[in-house]
Point group: D2
Chain length 154, copies 4
């Protein structure tokens, strides 16, 4: 099947060229701090969303188009964060994201949130998602997209 072969070919190219962990950088916004002078804890979950969207984009998938074209939404069912060290205003933050596990119905992402200067682990986190269709019912990621969410661990 032609489509299948194309996917396989892309998969091979991807596995040779793409890191299994995606890294994206952001800078802490004033709006993200609270009166303790550190980043408010809920904002780490906003950063994780940036991490997983950019991981998916780096593998050639535009999450926005998936929503628009396929009517598929990645709905979160579980989210966890362990906070080790506070992030502060104006710090450069590194978000390391990887697919921890995936099948056509769900994806689990793992994250490391680090400050760049000093290089320090600030938080470890994970989120688990299921695919929903426009009617908000459980759905499956079409097979031509599945290679894009191949887990980091072989």
């Amino acid at each position: 099947m032609a489509a299948g072969r194309n996917v396989l070919a892309l998969d091979v190219i991807w596995s040779l060229n793409q890191p299994l962990t995606h890294e994206t950088h952001i800078r802490v916004r004033y709006a993200e701090t609270d009166q303790m002078g550190i980043v408010y804890y809920a904002n780490y979950f906003v950063w994780m969303e940036i991490g997983r969207v950019e991981l998916v984009r780096s593998r050639g998938l535009n999450y926005k188009e998936l929503e628009n074209a396929e009517g598929l939404f990645l709905s979160v069912v579980d989210a966890k964060c362990r906070y080790l060290f506070p992030a502060r205003y104006d710090q450069e933050i590194l978000i390391r994201t990887q697919v921890h596990s995936a099948n056509p119905r769900m994806v689990e992402f793992a994250y490391e949130i680090r400050s760049v200067n000093p290089d320090r682990l600030l938080a470890q986190a994970s989120t688990k998602h299921v695919w929903l269709n426009r009617e908000m019912r459980p759905s499956r990621l079409p097979s031509q997209y599945q290679y894009l969410l191949r887990p980091a661990s072989v």
Copy 2:
């Protein structure tokens, strides 16, 4: 016309029973503060949204149903805020909202944001909105709803 008379009747009832300025209370959330120890300035615009939604609800209109049933959205075209005194964590806040002007195509709300203890004016603000339909094109508020947004003046 029956519908017109009903609206008029309701209008009369409303003008006798409803205050022209709506008051709603909120408490400052930790998430709303920043590292200056005061409420981050963008959050006042979130509070204004609460003020206008509650004003509309107090007049018998559920904004959510207007979105769902009529496919009408109140889209902001202009927003202003003058900050006089900072709001702080855990303070009880009074949001005073009134319709400053309205026609079938647009509404302008005026707001006072006050702390309750001490009683103090924190900010004065206004927002201007137009009605859009589901295709994001300018639309008109059906006449049976117009009395609900009668301005405070006159």
Copy 3:
């Protein structure tokens, strides 16, 4: 010891009059929704903060004064949420909070997030916190406050 006796007396009064689970109500803000038409997942953590602050207030402790007077901050070290059903704009939300466990150095809160109409469990969550002083070092909650965070169990 006089102070000790007072605390004990208050504790007895409290245990007779105060529910072990605190309930607080909020209404979903437009700002809290995302383009999926449901509440963005990070906002549940903002709601949990409201739940635990109101639980503490209901037991006679103003968390703000604890920050100001004692220089103590409740710093989150762990946060988890399991999402069962989406919350929607304008819904009335019930936040049920209880102290799951506590000692002078840490507190663990458990939460249920429910919609009121229909009555439905939307999410189950927990957060774990340690007390920090102004220098951001681990600290202890003074004994006169400890009864306020007595766990729900036992």
Copy 4:
């Protein structure tokens, strides 16, 4: 006066090398959208903060250090935004910021918010700020920093 001469020298260098309008790029986050499928209006004010912080940084001033070292805070007294066209999820956004006017006590920034693809003006905005010290009283920006906030208009 040596300090004065240094400032003058720096000023000359700056005026030759630095654009008077600063441009910074961001990408729309999912968290920034609302159920209308567009960016929630209060978030434009968060973007403006990014614009002015990056403008100041591009001129060699770290706003964070100004807060920490000099105990000076840029407190907003006025904010306005005119919304022309909605921003959408995942769009690349250009924030154009310039100093509209400034003196030792206040600064006024002007902003253009544009989408990159298509290239379109989404919003025009301005914010006015005064300098406050740690006691939240009006203060003055020390002269050695004033050149950094030279207005765009000669």
